[in-house]
Symmetry: C2
Subunit: 179 residues, 2 copies
């Protein structure tokens, strides 16, 4: 059974929407996500330190919105692949507990045995990786899917998926054809 | 640079001593660690549920004693190998924060990028693994060192190390010879 490593932030969780919401609450400005395109994560905002403040504040990770379609597709993947949730959570120690609670609430079918919180993802041994960060995909040895986010739209090195529907098309349809 | 995955509980942290201390505090009995030999972790005590209670109680992981010699040897390994600390912490969510604080206190030279908290360790890609549990070593693909603990003394499938001095002899001497 092929093993998939699935990222949380920006893939299962809609981090960009959450940034926009926090930013609007702080500054009263509704930023157009299109204006963030191509900038490194958080640096597309006028206040380039804002997102860093948000992700280090209690509650940010616990209240992240679920990425549309992710629950259904991760569930389907879970039945056909060895799914591991791999999050680079170690940089933000406060996030560990919140991320685990978030997973238990929104993806209760995922066993604790399939959850990995790490710093560098270079240690991950899997066949497929779904991630929104070039820094994680770059050192990975298997099939790479880049999940679209404003900060990665200029990267053309990997198979791009713009939504969970496209993940399903890439990884579940094939599976059916093979089976 | 070869990569080593080093376990925390029973390897960097002296879990057995901590069990014995908690048990003595609860029951007033100083258990001889020799009587635990060969039993599964925690099951060598008359009260077989005791250790499970201890590891799910706040503070247990934060106050673990450091395994003698581990600080010096892990430091030396850190300079010569790509060291990752890999702990199967996900079963006990309370332990995540405590384990990170414990690492920061006793092994401050270890970068957050080199810390992995997981459930199953099957996802770990490394060249060498030091662990006290057969269940972790069994599925590992590289060189395996079993760090002696009462619950593994009957296992003869891996290179055994009885102390951090023996880890140094196995992994640092060779390195010097090779270099």
């Amino acid at each position: 059974m092929a093993r998939i490593a699935i990222d949380m932030d920006g893939v299962m969780a809609d981090t960009t929407s959450h940034y926009l919401k926090y930013y609007e609450e702080e500054y009263g400005i509704r930023v157009d996500p299109a204006t963030l395109a191509g900038a490194a994560e958080g640096e597309g905002f006028d206040d380039k330190e804002a997102c860093r403040r948000y992700i280090t504040s209690p509650g940010f990770f616990r209240t992240l919105p679920v990425m549309p379609g992710s629950q259904e597709v991760v569930k389907a993947l879970y039945d056909k692949y060895e799914v591991f949730i791999v999050s680079a959570a170690m940089e933000f120690p406060l996030s560990l507990k919140e991320k685990l609670e978030w997973l238990n609430e929104h993806f209760p079918f995922i066993s604790w045995q399939r959850v990995v919180f790490c710093g560098s993802k270079t240690i991950v041994d899997a066949d497929i990786m779904i991630d929104d960060h070039d820094k994680n995909l770059r050192y990975f040895d298997g099939r790479k899917l880049i999940f679209s986010a404003p900060h990665n739209l200029h990267i053309n090195d990997y198979q791009r998926v713009n939504s969970w529907e496209e993940v399903a098309a890439a990884l579940l349809q094939e599976q059916l054809v093979k089976g």
